[in-house]
Amino acid sequence: MPRVTELHVNGSPVKLDADGERTLLSVLRDDLDLTGTKYGCGEAQCGACTVLLDGIATRSCIVNLGSVGKRKITTIEGLGKKGALHPLQAAFLKCDALQCGYCTSGMIMSAFALLQRKPDPSDAEIVRAMNGNICRCAVYRRILCAIREGAQAMKEAK
């Protein structure tokens, strides 16, 4: 597959030089040093690798670099303005919605994508949307609380 020399990441074009067959996950982490996005399973089952492609939650572990094209990539590092946490990130802290923290980036990105589509989701809708994200420390109820809090904060910010 041809090499890829440019991507659009977190609002800016970025130069690189990588084999198009590499996974997007690996390139983000290993070439661009954006290590906030994590590897958990490599088969899109756990959600730790979730990024946004043109605003759509995507499992970067099964995306070939070569297929990304000009789509805008948003990673956890791109959430929130410089120095300030995004309301969703602040909500995760407030609700203590993490223990080991490894699933947290993926949880926040998936939740962010949900709240873009549905700013006021019911609990059932949150569960359905988030069910593809695994937390092995099983902090699930706290994460639900954080997403509800974050949704509220995001609405108020508008």
């Binding site: 609990d123 092995r136 099983a138 699930y140």
Partner: protein
């Protein structure tokens, strides 16, 4: 201290025994160290200030089952440094501990303990953790021991530091010491005319203090910082993706490593041809004994290099999980004679068997290591719960001195007992040595499922007798392979016999959260329920009738009250179940409500209440988190998790085949904390997981009349509905 505590790490003058449970198969006994402290070193590294050293009796580890104790030299009791603390001129308070942070939030609770005793602000406390060059020796972060041991060590160390600061201030202020108080990082005189910050007091000092046994500690009832739900230290680093786990680390010139795995367990090497891989540009291939690996500039190249290796494996036929329990029985050591005559009794007898499957830890961060050689010195970053144990493993693997090995554990993406050993560290270091560059090695999820160790499978046989009036008169329990944790019977029974029998495990096995408590609580609490059913007695009343331990009675009652325990038959297909137990200083009672339909076969867990007491609570919200996490994680092992294996291979070794609890699996849950400020704090990271399986099994029986005696209970699936 409740009966059943088997380990204490004490201070000078106190006896110390650390029993390693037999089911910690992956551990080797730890050597005893004598730590010679060069006090000048502290100030060289840390800068001027005050250093407080805590010496503890060295942990003398004994292998259970008759292994010989490894003792220190000569007649004197060996001591080692347990912790140290440094107060610097810049007001930072650095605390050094060999414990690891793997998501149990001890980075926060230990900081709270220090802030409390020292009377300093929480955000001034910096914990340096799990670095074998900088922190004191530690046996490992497991066994729920951090709170009862390390928190206590750090409290004493911090209290001694506080006393040292008061002494310094008394000199400076020319005031009687009794006139001074330490508060909010300052020492203030009673008349408020004089005050100095801790940093100011330490300026120009190089003062070393050793903690004495009699340093006064603040009683838990007076806690202002400990005992509160302080937010997770460094939490912002995790929600922003800034925190670097081992697998996120980068070193100059670093390569990515992969290991060639055998086709199955116990397969041996037939033919091997690495020439194609070696010919690839930028690839290093290593073949060393039974280790075959590659390192390359990016993970894709490394994967391609691995694929380019031509290899033939000779399989070694093995059993499948269909034959597992028969196999465990057949190879059991010391099993009771089947024809042993039992004493005659007019009591009601019950004899049942319970089985427990192998399950995987499946930590979301797979094991990983970054290894770097600098001349003779090896540094490895790795997510392990035993940095010092891994240091030994590395020294042994490479035939070098431990002094030339440094292991650093970044805050890690969980372990649950699965990250005690140093495979990834050794693999990365071997590749790094050959490539002469740092190597990062991250196990794939498939490797995690196939090549890590599992929670032991097991069989528990129970034979009991009970009088018509509800008194249990006999309790004979035999556990095969899963272990001894939680095996003790908490009920008052005169004829008690509990025995553990080793067997031959076809799968690699080792520590898992709560160890054999899950198996032993499950078998016991289901069996207790079966006895109650035989007598047509309420399961709660039956337990209370046979229980004297007040702390266990207290959580049983707390759980039952919070849950709304009822004896009467509920609606169709609806049932309540209860279970209780005590282990490692924690007292647990769990109630479950299920909807179980005999006809459709569907089971829904609608509600859980867990009551827990572990002495004085250091951080209530984090404790609730741990308990809720235990329950939700435990749902997996209770309901649907099981390793399927055949002829040396895991058949369901990925998340698409091995079901783990997800958002939709978590029922409505309430956690009731019983806070005993008058009792020493015990650990809580494990025991709460052990009540969920029996509570659910008992609830399923109440709802449907079906008695389930095997874990997992309903592997075909679970549906959850909010009550």
């Amino acid at each position: 201290m409740h009966k059943g505590t088997t380990s204490r790490v004490g201070f000078k003058g106190q006896a110390v025994h650390v029993d390693i449970e037999p089911e910690r198969y992956e551990l080797a006994a730890a050597p005893v160290y004598r730590f010679d402290v060069d006090r000048r070193q502290f100030f060289k590294v840390l800068g001027a200030g005050v250093v407080v050293l805590l010496f503890v009796e060295a942990a003398i580890a004994q292998e259970s089952g008759g292994g010989s104790a490894r003792s220190g030299r000569g007649g004197s009791r060996p001591t080692e440094l347990g912790a140290w603390l440094h107060i610097g001129e810049d007001e930072t308070i650095s605390v050094f501990t060999g414990k690891t942070e793997v998501g149990q939030n001890i980075r926060t609770s230990l900081a709270q303990a220090v802030a409390e005793e020292l009377s300093a602000a929480l955000d001034r406390i910096e914990l340096v953790m799990a670095d074998t060059d900088r922190t004191p020796y530690d046996l490992g972060t497991f066994g729920s021991r951090t709170t009862p041991d390390m928190a206590l060590h750090l409290r004493r160390t911090a209290a001694a530091a506080r006393e040292a600061l008061l002494d310094l201030a008394a000199e400076r202020f020319h005031v009687d010491r009794a006139q001074l108080t330490a508060i909010d990082g300052k020492v203030i005189s009673r008349d408020r005319k004089q005050e100095m910050t801790f940093g100011q007091l330490t300026r120009g000092q190089q003062l070393v203090r050793t903690v004495t046994d009699d340093v006064p500690l603040k009683p838990a009832a007076d806690w202002k910082v400990a005992g509160t739900s302080a937010p997770k230290v460094r939490g912002a680093d995790f929600v922003t993706g800034r925190h670097r786990y081992t697998s996120d680390m980068k070193r100059e010139g670093m390569l990515h490593g992969r290991v060639l795995r055998p086709s199955a367990w116990e397969a041996t090497l037939g033919a091997l041809d690495v020439t194609a891989a070696e010919a690839m540009t930028g690839v290093t291939v290593v073949r060393d004994g039974n280790f075959i690996g590659v390192a390359a500039a990016d993970p894709l190249l490394a994967a391609r290099a691995l694929d380019a290796i031509h290899v033939e494996w000779i399989p070694n036929p093995q059993i499948s999980n269909d034959d597992l329990f028969e196999h465990l029985r057949k190879h059991a050591r010391g099993a009771p004679d089947a024809n042993e005559g039992e004493r005659q009794t007019r009591d009601i007898l019950l004899k049942q068997s319970y089985t427990i499957a192998y399950i995987a830890h499946a930590p979301l961060e797979p094991r990983a290591a970054v290894a770097e050689w600098q001349e003779k010195k090896l540094t490895v970053w790795t997510g392990t719960q035993r940095p010092f144990g891994v240091r030994s493993e590395l020294a042994q693997a490479f035939g070098i001195s431990e002094a030339d090995v440094r292991v650093i554990v970044p805050d890690t993406g969980s372990g649950y007992g699965g990250k005690h050993t140093g495979e990834a560290a050794i693999e990365a270091a071997r590749l790094a040595r050959a490539a002469k560059k740092p190597v990062k090695l991250v196990w794939t999820r498939e490797e995690e499922f196939a090549w890590a160790y599992f929670r032991p499978a097991g069989i528990v046989d129970i034979e009991s007798a009970v009088r018509r009036d509800g008194t249990i008169t006999r309790w004979h329990l035999h556990n095969y392979n899963s272990g001894t944790a939680g095996i003790r019977c908490p009920y008052e029974v005169s004829d008690v016999r509990t025995e553990f029998h080793r067997s031959a495990s076809p799968l690699r096995q080792g520590s898992y959260r709560a160890l054999a408590s899950v198996a032993n609580f499950f078998a016991r609490e289901v069996h207790i329920d079966e006895l109650a059913a035989k007598l047509k007695m309420d399961p709660l009343a039956f337990r209370l009738r046979n229980l004297e331990e007040p702390r266990l009675r207290a959580v049983l009652e707390a759980a039952a009250n919070a849950f709304g325990w009822k004896r009467e038959k509920l609606g169709p297909n609806r049932g309540f179940g209860i279970a209780c137990g005590m282990e490692k200083g924690g007292f647990l009672a769990t109630c479950a409500e299920v909807l179980a339909d005999r006809d459709s076969g569907s089971v829904q867990v609608t509600r859980i209440v867990a009551a827990f007491e572990c002495g004085a609570v250091v951080n209530p919200e984090h404790l609730k988190n741990q308990i809720a996490g235990c329950v939700a994680q435990g749902l997996g092992g209770a309901l649907f998790e099981a390793i399927e294996f055949q002829n040396g291979k895991v058949m369901n070794g990925r998340f698409s085949d091995y079901r783990v609890p997800r958002f939709s699996d978590v029922p409505k849950m309430d956690v009731v904390l019983v806070d005993r400020k008058d009792l020493p704090s015990a650990g809580a990271g494990e025991t709460p997981i052990a009540g969920i399986a029996p509570a659910i099994s008992n609830a399923i029986f109440a709802a449907s009349g079906i008695r389930l005696r095997s874990l997992p209970l309903v592997p075909d699936g679970l549906k959850v509905q909010e009550a």
